[in-house]
Symmetry: C2
DNA sequence: TCGACGTATCTACGTTCTTCGATATATTGA
DNA sequence: TCAATATATCGAAGAACGTAGATACGTCGA
């Protein structure tokens, strides 16, 4: 999809829903951010990270999510790409943690009282 | 999709992302809510309603969105079903307005500091 | 009554998404 | 060095999605 090589940073590029003049670009970034949480598996993954409060090994997510390992890897990648989750390699293990600032920015985007991001 | 007749109310059924024990049902409801805003056209539609501050005739949304009339109708329906937008019939015109409480609830769901919906 | 207009639905098409088995790569421990 | 383990990627199948043309329905004004 992105052939130019420039990476979109949805979390930093999107504007509040009530922004006076939402550009096409901003709308796309905002939609991508919301879409990242538009799947039950990813909502549960984020929930697991939020309640854990500390980085969680990816291997410990497979069972609670009830999905195959490639599927969990796929969803984790989506969340990392959206900026909502951070991935940290520790030897052969991959640890995921919540990007709390990104999630808070998401809440700010949905906040109609917010004027600016 | 829903053959039993029971209507899901995503806005009232979903729980915060940081909820201690997110059920499968709640995760699905939360995902549906986020997914409703997971398309640029719907983000712009919500933005138009948010900045208008008053009900907007659907016929006035076609041009700014740059989409065909059936497509706008389709997106509007999705937003109404998600509870984010209210639809009001006035003669042959359909007026859309933002369900501000629902959008605020969405922001609360994304708020990690919130304990309960 | 009739034509114009606004809207929803039907249908179809191409794209994207979710899922998982198979497989490749890398790291650890023996 | 070798087997076991964790993870990512590839490839494929089925479902869901976005879009718009055609069409049907209802309302308004003449």
């Amino acid at each position: 999809m992105n052939t130019t090589g420039e990476r979109l940073e949805p979390v930093t590029c999107c504007a509040p829903l009530a922004a006076p003049a939402l550009s096409e670009q901003e709308a796309k970034a905002t939609a991508e951010l919301f879409r990242a949480l538009g799947d039950p598996a990813r909502v549960r993954l984020v929930n697991l990270l939020a309640t854990a409060g500390e980085p969680v090994c990816m291997c410990e997510l497979i069972e609670p999510l009830g999905l195959a390992q490639p599927t969990v890897s796929h969803h984790a990648k989506k969340l990392v790409e959206a900026g909502l989750v951070e991935r940290e390699q520790r030897g052969k293990w991959a640890y995921l943690s919540l990007q709390r600032e990104a999630v808070e920015k998401l809440a700010a985007v949905a906040d109609l009282k917010e004027v600016c991001c």
